[in-house]
Symmetry: C2
Subunit: 316 residues, 2 copies
């Protein structure tokens, strides 16, 4: 939802989107554990989003917008209605779109039933479609609540329910959706990002993940080198600008996690390359670090060496 | 989601909707307690829906479609993928639309912030809009899960997210939505029902609530009389056909609960009258009774006296 200055602009008038953020499934969930959120990473990502959105007038005291009970918490939520009523504005440029992955939500249900391969006439696929949507919408609900608790006005939108490609300024997620040829399939958050970037042309796009960026080989390899800058040409080919690598290491070795039904780093790079060709810089960086905060603020300078992450941009 | 016979009909081909069901907020939540579901009533409503949907071939053993963890339950969900894979079909005519009210969800957040009166430029209304949506979508998620646990293939659709008036065969709910003149407002489940009935022309519409139907005065009054049959004429006027009342009791005294931001029984009757004028019978009855099961099956005979509820239909 947009933050609009009172009496100066109608809240319904669309404004350019500043940033599309992907909260990677690996960044905000514990991938090894079924349906488990990494609460600390999620909280940090939301707090950094608030900092990045602040126009300098946002009050330090956060007034939360999640006025619902928490599971297992018998206490009623704190609602500071008087505090909100006394505010001239939130002081936030909240014209961000947040898209999140599924991580340890949804994948189990999807892979157990084969939803991504289609075939809704099968009772197993039909049941898996229902089960997958329950799982991913549960995660979406928790992410909207985490954003709201940081005082960021947010509304959840399911791709299945909303015809996602025409929506904006909201929190979207990977989902089980209907498909014209397959009946149904899985739509990944990275594909959503690419389509939204084409539609909305944000100033920049940020992928928050659980590693510092794209490496030349699996980042668990001790010799792995972080690729700090990748240029994409008009034909979709890419070249590594920084660091300068030896001739035989120019290629990017890509690791795809086996449990990820929508593709891992390979999908991310391919989608990022499409976005970069639009002239929109893409920053891939690690959640809950000073680097992620700078990326969310759009404050990335690849000529200095103190920022850790990968910039993917169009060749000049 | 429709249950389609394999290789005989495309799942994408729309079929007539058999029934639109309103799960009243008073029927499925504990109205006096913030965000509290009446688990037993909800479970009963879902089990009766399954019975009403059965085409006679549904297996007695229910295979659940909620494969997610329950809050506070450390055990992994039971997934009978082999059982599903071996089924020729679910044996359910699941072409129902379920709409639910908010009950003790959403009303607190909406009334505290005045979302129903609009004005998104106010930080309080904006925060209340976010908080209301979090609350009502939490309830929606729990209702979808309850239906899925009864083996009913269900997907949740938020009116806000989906452009609700064009959607079908899904689980919808009262919601905070954008409004062209007010910026934002509250859309009630009863208004959604009326529009869906106009769009889909179901065979019948069922309102499940916490009393046996419409009374001539508040049902807490020991002299209250259940109105068993109401006819609506072409001008929208209504008359009580059964029981025969004395002349000065023909009017219906309407009680509106003070906490209900979207109107109580009055809205329900007005919306039901609009539906009845389409030629669609409306049954208002009490959840978790033999009467609600008969209503869901469309098996209501007003000439016999053993069915407790109110039928609202067009005058012949």
């Amino acid at each position: 939802m947009a933050e609009a200055a009172p009496k100066q602009r109608s809240p319904a008038a669309p404004r350019p989107v500043r940033c599309i953020v992907k909260l990677g499934g690996a960044a905000i969930t514990n991938k090894g554990e079924l349906e488990s959120i990494d609460e600390e990473s999620l909280r940090s990502a939301c707090a950094q989003l608030r900092q990045a959105m602040s126009d300098g007038t946002a009050p330090e005291k956060v007034r939360g917008m999640d006025w619902s009970r928490r599971p297992g918490d018998p206490a009623d939520p704190v609602v500071d209605a008087e505090g909100f009523a006394g505010m001239a504005g939130l002081g936030l440029d909240s014209n961000f779109v947040v898209v999140h992955g599924a991580g340890s939500f949804g994948h189990f249900q999807a892979s157990r039933s084969g939803v991504h391969k289609g075939g809704l006439h099968s009772t197993l696929v039909k049941a898996g479609f229902v089960a997958t949507r329950i799982s991913v919408t549960s995660l979406n609900q928790e992410i909207v609540r985490a954003l709201a608790r940081e005082g960021i006005p947010s509304v959840g939108m399911s791709p299945f329910a909303c015809g996602w490609s025409t929506q904006r300024r909201n929190v979207l997620h990977g989902d089980a959706v209907l498909d014209e040829s397959l009946d149904c399939t899985i739509l990944s958050g990275d594909v959503i990002i690419r389509h939204l970037a084409q539609l909305l042309t944000p100033k920049y796009v940020v992928f928050l993940t659980d590693v510092h960026g794209v490496y030349d080989r699996p980042p668990t390899d001790p010799n792995a080198v972080l690729l700090k800058e990748i240029e994409v040409d008009d034909n979709g080919g890419w070249s590594i600008v920084k660091p300068a690598l030896e001739g035989n290491r120019k290629g990017v070795e890509i690791s795809v996690a086996a449990h990820d039904t929508t593709g891992g780093m390979e999908t991310k790079i391919l989608e990022a390359a499409v976005i970069a060709r639009l002239g929109v810089d893409v920053y891939i960086t690690k959640v809950d670090t000073e680097h992620s905060l700078r990326a969310l603020k759009g404050d990335v300078n690849t000529s200095s060496d103190d920022w850790l992450g990968t910039v993917i941009r169009a060749a000049k």
